[in-house]
Symmetry: D2
Subunit: 406 residues, 4 copies
Amino acid sequence: MFDVSDRAKEYQERLLSFMDEHVYPAEAVYEAQMRESGDPHFHPPVLEELKAEARKQGLWNLFHPDPRWGPGLTNLEYAMLAETMGRSAHLAPEATNCNAPDTGNMEVLTLFGTEEHKEKWLKPLLAGEIASAFAMTEPAVASSDARNIEMRMVRDGDDYVLNGRKWWTSNALHKNCRVLIVMGKTDPDGPSHRQQSMMVVPLDTPGVTLLRNLPVFGYQDREGHAEVLFEDVRVPHTALLAGEGDGFMISQARLGPGRIHHCMRSIGMAERALDLLIDRAQSRTTFGAPLSERANIQDWIAEARIEIDMARLLTLKAAHLMDTVGNKQARTEIAAIKVAAPEVALKVVDRAIQVHGGAGVCDDFPLASMYAHLRTLRLADGPDEVHKRTIALRELRRRETERNAR
Amino acid sequence: MFDVSDRAKEYQERLLSFMDEHVYPAEAVYEAQMRESGDPHFHPPVLEELKAEARKQGLWNLFHPDPRWGPGLTNLEYAMLAETMGRSAHLAPEATNCNAPDTGNMEVLTLFGTEEHKEKWLKPLLAGEIASAFAMTEPAVASSDARNIEMRMVRDGDDYVLNGRKWWTSNALHKNCRVLIVMGKTDPDGPSHRQQSMMVVPLDTPGVTLLRNLPVFGYQDREGHAEVLFEDVRVPHTALLAGEGDGFMISQARLGPGRIHHCMRSIGMAERALDLLIDRAQSRTTFGAPLSERANIQDWIAEARIEIDMARLLTLKAAHLMDTVGNKQARTEIAAIKVAAPEVALKVVDRAIQVHGGAGVCDDFPLASMYAHLRTLRLADGPDEVHKRTIALRELRRRETERNAR
Amino acid sequence: MFDVSDRAKEYQERLLSFMDEHVYPAEAVYEAQMRESGDPHFHPPVLEELKAEARKQGLWNLFHPDPRWGPGLTNLEYAMLAETMGRSAHLAPEATNCNAPDTGNMEVLTLFGTEEHKEKWLKPLLAGEIASAFAMTEPAVASSDARNIEMRMVRDGDDYVLNGRKWWTSNALHKNCRVLIVMGKTDPDGPSHRQQSMMVVPLDTPGVTLLRNLPVFGYQDREGHAEVLFEDVRVPHTALLAGEGDGFMISQARLGPGRIHHCMRSIGMAERALDLLIDRAQSRTTFGAPLSERANIQDWIAEARIEIDMARLLTLKAAHLMDTVGNKQARTEIAAIKVAAPEVALKVVDRAIQVHGGAGVCDDFPLASMYAHLRTLRLADGPDEVHKRTIALRELRRRETERNAR
Amino acid sequence: MFDVSDRAKEYQERLLSFMDEHVYPAEAVYEAQMRESGDPHFHPPVLEELKAEARKQGLWNLFHPDPRWGPGLTNLEYAMLAETMGRSAHLAPEATNCNAPDTGNMEVLTLFGTEEHKEKWLKPLLAGEIASAFAMTEPAVASSDARNIEMRMVRDGDDYVLNGRKWWTSNALHKNCRVLIVMGKTDPDGPSHRQQSMMVVPLDTPGVTLLRNLPVFGYQDREGHAEVLFEDVRVPHTALLAGEGDGFMISQARLGPGRIHHCMRSIGMAERALDLLIDRAQSRTTFGAPLSERANIQDWIAEARIEIDMARLLTLKAAHLMDTVGNKQARTEIAAIKVAAPEVALKVVDRAIQVHGGAGVCDDFPLASMYAHLRTLRLADGPDEVHKRTIALRELRRRETERNAR
């Protein structure tokens, strides 16, 4: 329905082939390699094989809008690929070097990094040689209100000295993680939108301590979600991204595309969960009939189809608006998909779990793991309620304007 | 987001002006004329004035795909206009000669009517001089399964003789109603998709009796929903639309566009209800703050915005598919919007009622009346559950095909 | 499960017999007499016949806690009878002289009325000879916050002079209505809980004008919901109930029992709707099977049973607490049932409508009318949100106390 | 509200003191001991200390209806204690020897065990010296329809030989687990309710292999949920509980009390989650106000209070019916609570997670773990849909009977 270029359609076809020929068959291998390693943060060889294959096929850095680093697709064009990747979320995004938060970090370094940053961090990230993390959320405060952030970044001669505690620093336990982008306050008493700055901090900087990995519903995710302590962490003033006080501006810039990616991957998960639901319903029989013939299960299937399709369209619209009128004009839509897509996907996955019975809550199927991951999306990057508030305030203003115009 | 022609955008602008300048101001006049008449089925003069104005402005028969009779817009193009009309559902559709079921009847007569039908019924319908009704649903059976239909149409010489009882024959009490399109069985023992035929029956044919008007949640709708008795109703064989046994085929043909219209009008109602909700929330104060500052009301506003936008996109997609790949390929979407749009609209209207308190359930605002109307859409033309079943069966087949392909 | 006296059980049995033998058979008669009269506020003879029979059988004033005026049942004991009455809500409550708002008014007059009030108004009310209304809610303000009330009651010599506008004054259009209990401010600048007073105002007092009846959805209720204008309405100072400033206290006293009655009648309606749902599901067939064999309909039936039973238990618990520890201790429960019971009943009725198709939204079944009535209960006497706020504030205090105790 | 004996009230008080003085303080110790052990199935010393203390205080075997083995409380009386235990579900049930599935196994051995079973297994279970498991569900079939069970128990001389595969055999990885009660078919071709038998199988019987532990979401539960292979497992014919073909009857007998226990513990979890929700909402501030002052969070608190109270009342009613009229008469209620209690608890826990943000999904609070556990209750012992079906079929029959009686 949405017009996409022939080139984008071709990428979609190539990605689908890559999924069928390489990614899906690798899932069982991945599970086995992880299990055998005994290390939840193990980096399994199959991933490097997939990366090599994807790169060979030109399915690399698909997310990057800059044509120097990838195909240079629009948000709308990439969105459709992100959905496909979401169907195998442990493998496909990383295989194609399209994994969060590396994607956002690469975008930020491209836009706001110094030449040194680009040489030292962006290039190996684009090559898939290293990984990175983004340290923003803090355990001590409600971080969805950015004014609450407590990390301090104090100028001291040519350096900044960082003190604070972050958590949910995802990817920090990835075996390849080498660098953090850190958000903190350079000017705690400035106007609320100019208090924050972002800095590039190598993971091995003295004073940076990974305190622990945070489990998600019992899962120790491979990439990890670290609680990170920053004690008198000294970085040169060139660690700064853009200028002092630009932290909020940078986070707005990275926000839009990241939302699209997350939401489309959620929709891909929902589609996979629906397939699993149907497969199970067609294979299990109670009281003389397969579950797929029962009207309540059929209602679930239909509701899943309807709700997935609606959430996808809204996300594609948000992507299209970002491409055509910009993030700022798309603010309602970018907030809306953050609420809608995980909610829809959680409902589908939950019902797929129900149809699977005990098999749904253990690891014989990816459903419980999907659920845990999707549940965090209702919190990460601001809880639903913050995004609903954003939308409501914009609606209230819209209507006031309309009334005043009469 | 969806590409529409400049011509369609221009129609949209003209319609919006017509709404602002003529329709909204006429609402109070309409209410007053109806109240004064003391007749729930009164045809108020203000409607004829609006019709004259609309026709003068070329905002006439906007729905009709045939460029001989109107602008010849696509389903997608007209859909956006239908939403706007839904904001003033008692006036705008009829003012522009885009009122159901006349629209569906005009389409059917255009496609399947004889020259005589066109001369006698289609032309005055296109001119807005007469109204028409569609008699399908029956009180004695679950009509959502078309095989249950009991009306008999028996060939007798050059005539057919009709016997049966219909209800929810909407528009039959419109002061201008002159003709019915009637669905019944010419071959009760034939294959299930060939049992039915449709015929054109003048309302004044002997044996046709309007038994009563059916209220909707206490409302006596102006156009009426009649229970109609057919006792030995004799019509010439030329009353037949297309051929014997084509009833099901014709109903499929009329179904798609009608769904789009209903759903887009529902979305228009939802938008108006959301505006009313916001207006009220901003004007009423409890416990020291306007309702619009309370987080629960803000959540409602945001959820309304999100859900309305999703339902609209799905409906536009269905329209676009109908325009590009045809009704048959769009069957899932056409079933999906029938479930989604009224559900979303009902939720918004219900919350608007709640914010209005007692004012919401009486006639000081159009909310209770909207609710009653929208509630019937979950039943009319098949209950939600029948459409969900259609979608589920298609999904089950899709997945089976995919599995077999591996 | 709840212990009730043998006497109460006996009343329950006698009421059930009365319903079977007199009330249910009278429903069709009632409908016919109302229809024939052409007057939505007609007082049909069948009601007086039922009242005579009920009184003869001693099924009279069952609600009244005072043993001088009825059997003197506890709240818990009467609650079970109220549920039964709710199954035929147009007839059973009035037949047994247990109709709102007469019940609350009789309680208030018993507790706070002067001897003159009792002689002139209470006695004929207890005898079912007259009806009464309660004028509290106002159209211009959010009346759920009592401080917003604008009606003024100004002392002038031996009289009070009332000015203001009320609406949703239910029962005011009952043919037998003779008297209003009116809430207003005698001391608008006093402490917020002492600003209000209640007065007894004969309906025919000069300056009292019934401006219009408010429809509910499209229904013109027989008892009516009036918008009432008070222009310089002069009443003697003896019109005062209890003392000046006692209005809020009196309204708290009447509140508890009224809630129980409303909620139990709602549950009775829900039970009747469930019976209708089942009857219809067992009598209609689609796609080769009765609806009652479809798993989605079965889910609806089970959910109805579960939710009705839970709402009933909570309401009975509230009644029991009122009987044993008093209204004040039962405040959470009294707020809780006001939210829970109508919500449960609305859901059951809505699903019963869905199973009935078009028959569910017209007047062939009482479902649409039940829906409209139940929908007003989510607003009347404060919207759900006000009651939830009450509960939440109590929970927050409870928890603070617990934390402080550690 | 429900009358309970003074003795039961006294137990409630003593249990509350035990919780305050011993259980809650032990929670952090437990977490530390488990973490330090590095073994998810470790049996931490603090548990044995709690058990010793509980036994000393006479808070032991509280669940057991037989006064020889505990206080001999009724189902209703014990239900209230089970709720309290649910507040600290990892510790309190096991500390008081009231842990599932040991409780059900002890009941079954009491009722149907031979003297040898009682001496060898029941006594050490009652003493808390060993643990036990119950092997019913199978991975290969939809076990909610008992006719699907595939495990075979074939008589061979004086022995039975068992072959089959079970899973979700909870407690099998408890360090103290010594014995299994196993359900299988002795007569696969008999009438459907007489095909099954239950046998007592020591865990170390040759041919019994614990294949793996099943994680729940990502949790490795301490007690474990085993997949168990039975290959030519030979047990003497005295392993039989009651007689051949009595398996279904025994499972019915154990079912009622187990449901009460599970549901009341779920309600205890919900109460604790609500407390956590409130604590967090009162301690975190965004946009200038604590979360506890926002109307959406207040709505959540109120809805939690309402729904928890309703689910508790329904469960207590089910317990009371079991005590007074028996399991069979309480079948609707026993099915109803299985649906209602976990659903309510899951909703409260999910909202508590949302208020906690990232802290809610990791292990800093027990919420994610509660969620995972409660989610399995919607599947264990039959999915919700099977219980709804049971209720619906009973309602359909009830209504048919009523209609026929007229």
